[in-house]
């Protein structure tokens, strides 16, 4: 078995662009779910709107890259307003229902045949990232030993991605230790108590929805730019559920939770996805039990099993406080 390749792939997934995109998305979701208690099941829509905002502006309408970034961010803010205005006055479960539906609407909108002239339909869009890679200062690939290698393009996306992660973490850290964050966390505990103390709860929930949506949309840029393409089915519902897994794994309402959660999630997935096919090829796992084509699906089963065990033995996640989880909700 080629252990050096397996280890190399696993270590790369600790810091690569996919992990960064999920970390950014989960940082945003953590603002919604972890801090404010908003059940947003449509976080993937924020990433989709930002990614397509960039791709369509540049590839379809031929406008500059930075205009595309602006359009994507504006799209995320508008999506938050569209989701929030009708639902935030209602009970929490309504937001969950509306967001899960909205995320599907956004995905189906981008892949619809009648709009394919602008969105590329199910094939998506390419050729919007040239300006981004033209800014790439790296000339050559990075090789660490023989096991880890990132080419110059990957390095550039990762550099930008990690800067965005750092900025996002800093914003969440500063916001959540401020009186603003105190109101946000209080809303998670009991909205009516916060209302009775003179705070405009609906306004705070809307601010949280916008902040988390905008932070999540940064993940959409990273996905789009690292692949130099956007496809509608990238932004499906399962994306949002992986984000929830990451948030809970890292510890909800913890500043670094989503980043470390994303690292662990992708490390485990990459490791299992590399080990299983290698073990089958080497004959350690008999083919009547599992073939290399089945190994991918089995990988997700193992990740799921690992997460179940983690939640049984450490329900507060990596950074969480056990005492906090054990308190009754009200």
């Amino acid at each position: 078995m080629g252990w050096d390749i397996i280890i190399g792939v696993s270590l790369e997934s600790l810091i690569n662009a996919t992990m960064i995109a999920y970390a950014l998305a989960a940082i945003g979701l953590n603002v919604h779910f972890g801090y404010t208690g908003l059940l947003n099941f449509g976080q993937s829509a924020f990433l989709g709107v930002a990614a397509y905002g960039l791709a369509m502006t540049v590839a379809t309408f031929g406008l500059p890259f930075w205009v595309g970034i602006g359009v994507g961010l504006l799209g995320a803010v508008i999506l938050a307003l569209l989701l929030g205005i009708p639902t935030l006055r209602l009970r929490a479960d309504y937001l969950a229902i509306v967001t899960i539906a909205a995320a599907e609407i956004v995905r189906l909108f981008f892949r619809s045949v009648s709009l394919s002239e602008w969105t590329g339909g199910s094939d998506g869009l390419q050729a919007f990232s040239d300006d981004f890679y033209a800014m790439n200062p790296y000339g050559s690939a990075l090789e660490i030993g023989t096991v880890i290698s990132f080419d110059a393009r990957e390095l550039w996306v990762m550099t930008v991605g990690w800067v965005l992660v750092a900025i996002s973490v800093l914003i969440v850290f500063l916001a959540m230790r401020s009186p603003w964050g105190r109101v946000i966390k209080a809303i998670r505990e009991d909205e009516d108590a916060v209302r009775s103390l003179g705070k405009n709860v609906v306004s705070y929930k809307m601010q949280s929805l916008i902040l988390g949506g905008v932070l999540g949309s940064l993940g959409g840029y990273i996905i789009a730019l690292s692949k130099a393409a956007v496809q509608p089915d990238t932004f499906g519902t399962e994306f949002t559920f992986y984000m929830y897994t990451i948030v809970i794994l890292g510890g909800a309402a913890r500043v670094f939770g989503p980043v470390v959660g994303s690292m662990i999630f992708w490390f485990l997935l990459a490791f299992i996805n590399a080990v299983l096919p290698a073990a089958i090829t080497a004959g350690y796992i008999p083919t009547w039990l599992m073939t290399t084509t089945q190994a991918g699906a089995v990988g997700y089963i193992f990740v799921g099993l690992g997460l179940v065990l983690l939640l049984i033995f450490r329900p507060q996640g990596i950074f969480g406080d056990k005492k906090e989880v054990m308190l009754d909700g009200r």
């Binding site: 914003i171 500063l174 009186p179 009991d190 601010q207």
Partner: protein, 303 residues
């Protein structure tokens, strides 16, 4: 009672002001902080609240009593903006408050507590308190990102919160999660947190419910001290001992309407009140006040 030389100034002031007020529903008060007119709330075919006219005296402790289903909590929810009336208007400190959102009601100086205590479990006790302060600069998102803009105000708020925590004997629990407090301590915290808003009027929804006897006296003391500080208190309560002990004025609701008003002793002797509590089968003949009080207290035990 009034002849007692040890009566605190707040009690004397409140009782003197209410001395000449007639004992009848909708009676005019010499200095009303809250005046409500024709407040109606219907749930489908049921009229839960139908209050013709009501005035609450400033600086006094007024009890709102009545049997279960009389509409006390619904009326509370209407006054504090947590529910919307079908009809009706009311003014607080002279400004109209009918149909105003709850957070604006609180900012006007009318703060409530809840029958089921709402401690913010996963916030520390001191953060619960700090949250109560109004007009915080750091509660706006952008200003919150820059600690220099709100640090001084935060220290001032924390000092005020610590003072209140000491007064309510919660200072030892300062850093604990509010969710780890006992039921009675949560009631205390909720009341202390309401005071952080610096209200003119405090609305307490069953402050004694679920509080063990050891804490009852201290809670009573705190409610009385609000009056000494010049605040107006309106509270819903089933515990008749408490009502008699601390209230200057009692308003009785039955089936959504105000059926009687007066000082605790006269109200508890009122045949309409006894009817409301014990049902229409009661003959309603004249009673010795102590006997009546005993019956009214008996009435609460079946609730």
């Amino acid at each position: 009672m009034a002849a007692d030389a040890n009566v605190p100034p707040g009690v004397a002031r409140a009782r003197a002001a209410l001395k000449d007020v007639p004992h009848q529903p909708g009676a005019k008060k010499p200095d009303a902080i809250l005046v409500a007119d024709k407040v109606v709330r219907r749930f489908g075919g049921l009229t839960a609240v139908n209050v013709g006219h009501i005035e609450i005296q400033r600086g006094a402790i007024t009890a709102l009593i009545g049997p279960n289903g009389a509409g006390k909590t619904t009326f509370f929810n209407l006054l504090t903006g947590f529910d919307k009336p079908n009809e009706g208007d009311w003014t607080f400190n002279g400004s109209p408050l009918g149909g105003v959102a709850p957070h604006k009601v609180a900012r006007k100086g009318m703060v409530r507590t809840f029958q089921l205590t709402k401690a913010l479990s996963r916030l520390s006790v001191i953060d619960n308190m700090r949250l109560g302060a109004t007009g915080q600069k750091g509660e706006s998102f952008w200003q919150g990102l820059v600690p220099a803009l709100w640090k001084a105000q935060e220290q001032e708020i924390t000092a005020r919160a610590d003072e209140l925590l000491a007064r309510f004997k919660l200072d030892a629990k300062r850093e604990d999660f509010a969710g780890s407090l006992s039921g009675g301590q949560r009631k205390l915290l909720e009341m202390a947190r309401a005071l952080m808003v610096q209200p003119d009027m405090v609305m307490l929804d069953e402050p004694m419910a679920g509080v063990n006897p050891a804490l009852t006296q201290s809670l009573l003391g705190h409610v009385k001290s609000l009056r000494e500080d010049g605040m107006t208190v309106l509270f819903v309560e089933h515990d008749m001992d408490m009502v008699r002990d601390i209230s200057d004025w009692v308003i009785v609701m039955g089936q959504g309407e105000v059926i009687a008003e007066g000082t605790p002793d006269t109200v508890m002797a009122d045949p309409r009140v006894i009817d409301a509590y014990l049902g229409a089968h009661h003959d309603g003949t004249a009673h010795d006040p102590d006997e009546v009080a005993a019956e009214v207290e008996g009435g609460k035990s079946h609730e």
